[in-house]
């Protein structure tokens, strides 16, 4: 009888037990693929950005010279950077401040048994699945100062027409409106899912205790869905901080940087003005800012979340 296949099998099994199994049991081995992707596409580019922020870099001219803090000095003395940073904060704050309450109200309505639910669902979710290019084209037409439907509607109400995307005072509010409209569907989806996790018995008890709809909303509905708010606020803030498409497609950051946001500024400074080092200095500052906002967000919202 030939014993060699059995011996070989035993050796492989022993090797498996000795080397492969401990690796597979290790949590680090299991997260390795995700970690590798994260390191390659996030960590290393971030390190490169950090390095380039101290250099004067021009890929076309072949320049790669240490510049010390010059790029950082340049952005802090650049009025445009300060303005764009402020715009980004304002844009993020108002997009979240209007977008999330609106999503909650719409979701509460959709969670009821109103006959208008299906229609409203369609209206609310459609923007979420439309591409940014289509959304921008649609709103650009609607916001045309001469022929746009928005100014026509304002005219019917006796209000003077607005310049919308063309005005220095109106361009940022205009893209906030579009951003809230575009993200409403996704936010509503999250809140509706949250509402459906609340047991019906809780509402029945509230009814027995003669709790009105407003009181029920503030004392039952909101606390019960609060864990979802942590997720919703975090994703909403992260999404709006990283807005690029709307600016690129609708205003190009203008007029006079009034609607320019950080991510577009980084692209514009690096790719259009060919100042890679300065753009990377802006990116590093923005990275720390986003990190700080996320930490603050977790600290504030997770403490107030009610977990069952």
């Amino acid at each position: 009888m030939n014993e060699s296949p059995r011996v070989a099998g035993n050796i492989i099994r022993r090797m498996e037990m000795r080397f492969v199994n401990p690796i597979l049991k290790s949590p680090y081995a299991l997260i390795l693929p995700a970690l590798a992707i994260c390191v390659c596409f996030s960590v290393i580019p971030a390190l490169m950005a950090f390095r380039n922020s101290f250099f004067s870099v021009d890929y076309v001219a072949g320049v790669d010279r240490f510049a010390g803090m010059a790029n950082y000095r340049s952005i802090f003395t650049d009025g445009a950077f300060i303005q764009v940073f402020r715009n980004t904060v304002v844009f993020t704050f108002f997009s979240a401040a209007f977008g999330i309450p609106l999503a909650v109200l719409t979701a509460v309505f959709l969670n009821s048994n109103s006959p208008l639910c299906n229609f409203t669902q369609g209206v609310v979710f459609t923007p979420h699945v439309i591409s940014f290019v289509s959304v921008s084209t649609l709103w650009t037409f609607m916001m045309d100062p001469q022929f746009g439907i928005l100014n026509y509607a304002l005219g019917l109400l006796g209000i003077r027409p607005l310049m919308w995307l063309l005005g220095e005072n109106t361009s940022l509010p205009s893209i906030i409106i579009v951003s809230v409209w575009k993200t409403l569907g996704y936010n509503v989806l999250i809140v509706v899912s949250a509402l459906q996790t609340i047991p019906r018995e809780v509402y029945e008890s509230a009814m027995l205790d003669r709790s009105g709809p407003v009181r029920t909303f503030f004392h039952i509905t909101l606390p019960m869905i609060s864990p979802f708010f942590v997720f919703l606020i975090t994703t909403c803030v992260a999404q709006t901080l990283n807005t690029f498409d709307l600016v690129r497609l609708m205003t190009g950051g203008g007029p006079k940087n009034s609607s320019n946001l950080m991510v577009y500024w980084i692209y514009e400074t690096g790719y259009l003005h060919f100042q890679v080092g300065k753009a990377m200095a802006g990116a590093v500052i923005f990275l720390f800012f986003v990190g700080a906002v996320s930490l603050l967000n977790f600290a504030l919202t997770s403490r107030r979340a009610y977990y069952q």
Binding site: Y28, V39, V43, I44, L47, M48, R51, V57, D58, Y59, V60, A61, G62, V63, D64, S74, T140, F141, M143, D144, P145, Q146, F147, G148, M163, W164, L165, L166, G167, E168, G254, P255, K256, Y271, L272, H273, F274, Q275
Partner: protein, 444 residues
């Protein structure tokens, strides 16, 4: 301990990546192995990749692909790939990315002023294109081809701003001839305006790169930038502000069609108004003539091109359009093959065919003497207008910062027409100061 091991592994990985990090700048091995290169190399062919500024299905795209087919029939050892990019800015942005990643094409058509940006990567064309061919190009079109003694580009789809005139509307209003000065332009615009029928005497679009503004400025004797690219000049006198005021006043009078109070692309807005008989004249590139002539004729209007109006005795105008650049990152064999392609495209047959198809300028001296161009000029004097105007070409800004400068300038120009009560003088001063800051921060 585990944390320390993880940290060390992470740092090692990052260091490895950093060590293998390609330093920016020209590399003898970069930009050669484009995706199509491997297959062609296996077939023993030399690859030439040309990035075309227009889409593949545009007139230029079809022309280039037909010309490439003829060229490869004559030169079977060369494979030519034409890649449509969809606009001057799109080409520039992709070249920027390609320069960083070492994947520059062999040739690209770039807007003539982008030479200021890409010349550090350009090959010397005088080494790969014969002297006879180079000498045959119109001298005025070569004005923006040389930089620091290097012949870095050669003309391809070249243009100049000319006055588009709806002759039918002129005749209906009893206006004879066409304006040769800006004063006449304003007077005729008043006569041509017909508010009851929504007709404006004139229209203006500064263009996305302020090209039309630049040309009007030159026609008044103004300048954008000093020849050494160190000083912004348009804020140093009143010429730029007066150009803006001319159009602001016409708009306030109700005789100028203003695309900047609309949200859409200004060229699309003004073009549509002109084709619909709502604008009697505007400045546009002669390269649009082929398309506009067809569309105006279908709409029942007679189109004429007229010489750019002058603001002083001697006319001075901008040139525009695209030049071909060859990149130094290509192999010697690719550069020689690309040089042969450029020579092929400079033959009279292709220069005349392209000019007749699109309205762009015939780029060579000998092509002007061909029967095709003479017939074209006889049949439609409009073609001749642009050819003759080339004598008055003004050198364009050739700084790497031009894109950043024109973006700022265009925003202020746009604002002056969106809000026509904006003080033009302070707007131009502010724009000039901001543009000067760009030059100071990032000198050539």
């Amino acid at each position: 301990m585990k944390k320390i091991v993880s940290l060390i592994a992470f740092i090692a990985l990052a260091a490895l990546q950093t060590a293998g990090w390609r330093s920016p700048g020209p590399s003898p091995h970069s930009g050669v192995s484009l995706s199509s290169g491997t297959a062609s190399a296996a077939e023993g062919k030399t690859d030439v990749v040309l990035w075309n500024v227009f889409a593949d299905n545009s007139d230029t795209g079809v022309f280039l692909s037909n010309a490439a087919r003829d060229f490869t029939a004559e030169n079977p050892e060369i494979k030519v790939t034409i890649v449509g990019q969809g606009g001057y800015d799109a080409v520039a942005e992709r070249l920027e990315a390609a320069a960083a990643s070492g994947t520059l094409p062999t040739l690209a058509i770039i807007e003539e002023t982008f030479l200021g940006r890409f010349h550090p990567r350009a090959a010397d064309l005088s080494k790969y294109v014969s002297k006879d061919t180079i000498d045959n190009y119109q001298k005025s079109l070569l004005a923006s081809s040389r930089i620091n003694g290097l012949l870095a580009t050669l003309p391809f789809n070249r243009s100049t701003p000319v006055l588009y005139v709806n002759r039918t509307l002129f005749d209906r209003s009893g206006v004879k001839g066409a304006p040769s000065t800006w004063d006449e332009f304003a007077v005729m615009a008043r006569k041509l305006s017909d508010p009851e029928n929504g007709v404006f005497g004139a229209g203006i679009c500064w263009d996305t790169d302020a090209w039309i503004f630049e040309s009007v400025l030159y026609s008044f004797g103004g300048e954008i930038i000093s020849p050494d690219n160190r000083t912004i000049l348009f804020g140093r006198n009143d010429i730029a502000a007066n150009v803006v005021k001319l159009f602001q006043n016409m708009y306030n009078e109700g005789v100028l069609f203003n695309p900047y109070i609309h949200q859409d692309d200004p060229w699309a807005v003004i073009g549509s108004a002109f084709l619909n008989g709502k604008v009697a004249m505007f400045l546009g590139s002669n390269g649009m003539f082929g398309t506009y002539e067809k569309l105006m004729s279908e709409a029942g209007y007679e189109l004429q091109l007229q010489t750019h109006p002058a603001g002083m005795d001697e006319l001075s105008v901008a040139t525009g359009g695209g030049n071909i650049i060859m990149f130094d990152s290509a192999t010697e064999a690719q550069k020689r093959a690309a040089g042969r392609l450029i020579e092929f495209l400079a033959r009279d047959r292709y220069v005349t065919e392209y000019a007749a198809l699109t309205g762009y300028l015939p780029t060579t001296v000998s092509s002007l003497e061909t029967g095709v161009i003479k017939d074209l000029a006889r049949r439609s004097p409009s073609y001749k207008i642009a050819y003759d105007q080339m004598r008055h070409a003004h050198r364009r800004p050739l700084t790497k910062n031009w894109k950043a400068i024109y973006k700022l300038l265009t925003e202020d120009l746009r604002r002056c027409l969106t809000y026509a009560d904006t003080d033009a003088a302070s707007a131009m001063r502010d724009a000039a100061a901001a543009c000067q800051k760009i030059l100071d921060e990032n000198p050539d």
